[in-house]
């Protein structure tokens, strides 16, 4: 029998910690790079120094009003909204994927995004709404759908399997609602609804970021309080109980957090596709077993969102694509690369 010394296990743990730190640092650096690009790039060229000066203009006083407007009212709000919504989607995705023990079970697969979308399309096509009221409708749709799924899945407690199956059934039904509304509407309304469904940061205003940030700040304490519960829940309900996790209440709380994050982000930018879906698997593969990867998933989400938005704005010279068109492609390409890379080396480390 090999006797393992305290030092050895501490070394093993420190190696994993430092790997986790390297991943986090790498993601943060990439984010910083993307942020810099987002502040510097644009149709109206602004020298880097002027951008920095403008950023401090609320303190130092304005030097150039039009530059200040571009930096503070156009680029900064868009950047902040991308970071916040991306992080929210990423967190929501990894919470559901871990909780339901299925990497496919992100909110945009198990019906929550569909709830938001169906509600929004209803608001646009039937009620003729636009703007903030559509966002509120989408938020309500997401929360109501999640509540319905949870209640329908409840029978002496909730099992991951039941939530997933009832979630996809709900998703199918809500997709049918959307399709039905699409075939019954005039083309102009369909186009409007379609634009909302794809999701975009084109209309980002400073208020959006402030509202979303406030909501996230309200939800985060709950997430921090419950996130350790994922450690147990991941090992199956029995083991979770055995380790002293309060299974039902922890799961309900985490689902609530996950739904709220997805719903807030969707209300802000629309159901931008696949950010929630790809962030978790990407973070986990980068971490290579060195932890849950929850904060890393938030970083990946923010990075995917921001990089996609940059590509959407600047890839084609003539048109600005909606962000949602690009996130799918960008996030997916990242994931495919990881799948291939992890296959070659055995595992990502």
């Amino acid at each position: 029998m090999t006797i393992l010394s305290l030092e050895t296990i501490a070394i093993v743990r420190r190696q994993r910690l430092s790997h986790a730190r390297r991943v986090t640092f790498g993601l943060l650096s990439a984010l910083l790079l993307a942020c810099t690009a987002a502040m510097l790039l644009g149709d109206f060229p602004v020298p880097a120094l002027d951008v920095v000066q403008s950023l401090f203009s609320p303190l130092t006083g304005s030097a150039n009003r039009s530059v200040d407007f571009i930096v503070l009212q156009v680029r900064l709000p868009r950047l902040c909204l991308a970071l916040l919504s991306g992080a929210a989607f990423g967190l929501s995705g990894i919470i559901f994927q871990t909780l339901l023990r299925n990497p496919l079970a992100s909110p945009d697969i198990i019906g929550i995004a569909h709830g938001a979308s169906a509600a929004a399309v209803f608001c646009i096509i039937i009620l003729g709404w636009s703007g903030l009221s559509v966002s509120l409708g989408a938020f309500a749709g997401a929360m109501l759908t999640a509540l319905a799924i949870y209640l329908l899945a409840w029978r002496n407690g909730v099992t991951a399997y039941r939530v997933v199956l009832i979630g996809i059934a709900t998703a199918a039904m809500l997709s049918a609602v959307i399709s039905y509304l699409f075939t019954r509407a005039r083309l102009f309304e369909v186009q409007q609804a379609m634009a909302w469904l794809v999701g975009s940061l084109n209309a980002a205003r400073p208020e959006d970021s402030i509202v979303l940030a406030t909501m996230l700040v309200l939800v985060l304490p709950l997430l921090l309080a419950l996130v350790r519960g994922l450690d147990g829940l991941e090992l199956g309900d029995d083991t979770a109980y055995a380790l002293g996790t309060r299974v039902e209440i922890t799961r309900l709380g985490l689902m609530l957090v996950g739904v709220a994050l997805a719903a807030f982000a969707t209300a802000a930018v629309g159901p931008v596709g696949f950010v929630a879906f790809v962030s978790g698997p990407i973070a986990r593969r980068l971490m290579g077993g060195a932890g849950r990867g929850v904060p890393q998933a938030a970083l990946v989400g923010a990075l995917v969102m921001l990089a996609s938005d940059l590509a959407a704005q600047h890839a084609l010279a003539s048109v600005q694509l909606p962000t949602g068109v690009v996130t799918g492609g960008f996030g997916a390409a990242f994931l495919i690369w990881l799948l291939i890379a992890s296959g070659r080396s055995g595992r990502v480390n």
Partner: protein, 271 residues
């Protein structure tokens, strides 16, 4: 750690949905001893273990930990006193051995209490005890069934509880590792003063290692006590529907069950 916590079941009924599996069962787990539960498949031994471990809510009756109904105690508090190895735990994708074993430290950590050298020590001790030290940084997915089983045992050990309940911990293990695991559990009892309850399949190993053996059939206890006193040919026949001879184990002087089947019976002995 205060020793000798008392675990007992009184008038316990357990079941799933409408099907009752354990009926009106009374059991006092002897403190500071190794208790082994044996019985044929589907006799309710795993269900009883789940009930004792508060993983299953009793339909009637109760399980008491130190005189308090265990299902009404905060589960976190129970987890610092009582560890469980369930039958089919799930290992997350790509998790490493050290990380999984470290999850056993959950009940000892709070919101603000971070990982300490005490936790490291518990993990190191658990890995050494289960002979998994060399695998600390390997992903669990890459291990064999037997190695994986030992990782789960290590996780339960890292929980460092006075009471330890294990459901068939020797399944999937080679004979040498079976003996090692049971030796290890005995160490925990003899030198650590802990109370251990195990569900086992192998009757001979059960007789050798048990301080207290509980024989179950159709959800009730047929016999319990020291193996030397209660394991008789009649009890084996009653529990397993098996004709057997009982000899003395030459190593441990405990009952050694020799099954009599339909073939390869050289000396026909009257029974």
């Amino acid at each position: 750690m205060t020793r000798n916590h008392q675990l007992m079941a009184a008038g316990l009924h357990l079941g799933y949905a409408e099907r009752e599996i354990v009926t009106d069962l009374n059991l006092t787990v002897p403190a500071g001893k190794l208790t082994v539960i044996v019985g044929a498949n589907a006799c309710g031994k795993s269900t009883l273990l789940r009930g004792l471990a508060r993983l299953l809510q009793p339909s009637r009756g109760a399980v008491y930990l130190d005189g308090k109904p265990i299902h009404q105690m905060p589960t976190r508090e129970v987890a610092t006193l009582l560890g469980v190895l369930p039958q089919s735990p799930i290992a997350p994708e790509a998790i490493t051995v050290a990380d999984l074993v470290g999850r056993g430290r959950y009940p000892h950590q709070g919101w603000f209490r971070r990982w300490t050298s005490e936790d490291d020590a518990a993990v190191a001790q658990a890995l050494s005890a289960t002979d998994m030290a060399a695998f600390a940084d390997r992903p669990v997915d890459e291990l064999s069934g037997g190695q994986r089983q030992r990782v789960w045992i290590a996780m339960a050990l890292a929980q460092q509880t006075d009471l330890l309940l294990l459901d068939e911990p020797t399944t999937f293990l080679d004979i040498n590792h079976q003996v090692e695991v049971l030796d290890l559990l005995t160490d925990l009892v003899k030198t650590g003063g802990r109370t251990v309850v195990v569900v086992l399949h192998d009757l001979n190993l059960a007789c050798r290692y048990a301080d207290h053996i509980v024989a179950m059939k159709s959800g009730t206890i047929i016999a319990e006590g020291q193996p030397n006193e209660i394991i008789t040919e009649a009890v084996v026949h009653d529990v397993f529907h098996l004709t057997a001879h009982i000899l003395r184990d030459p190593v441990s002087n405990t009952p050694l069950i020799i099954p009599v089947g339909r073939h390869h019976v050289a000396k026909v002995t009257a029974r």
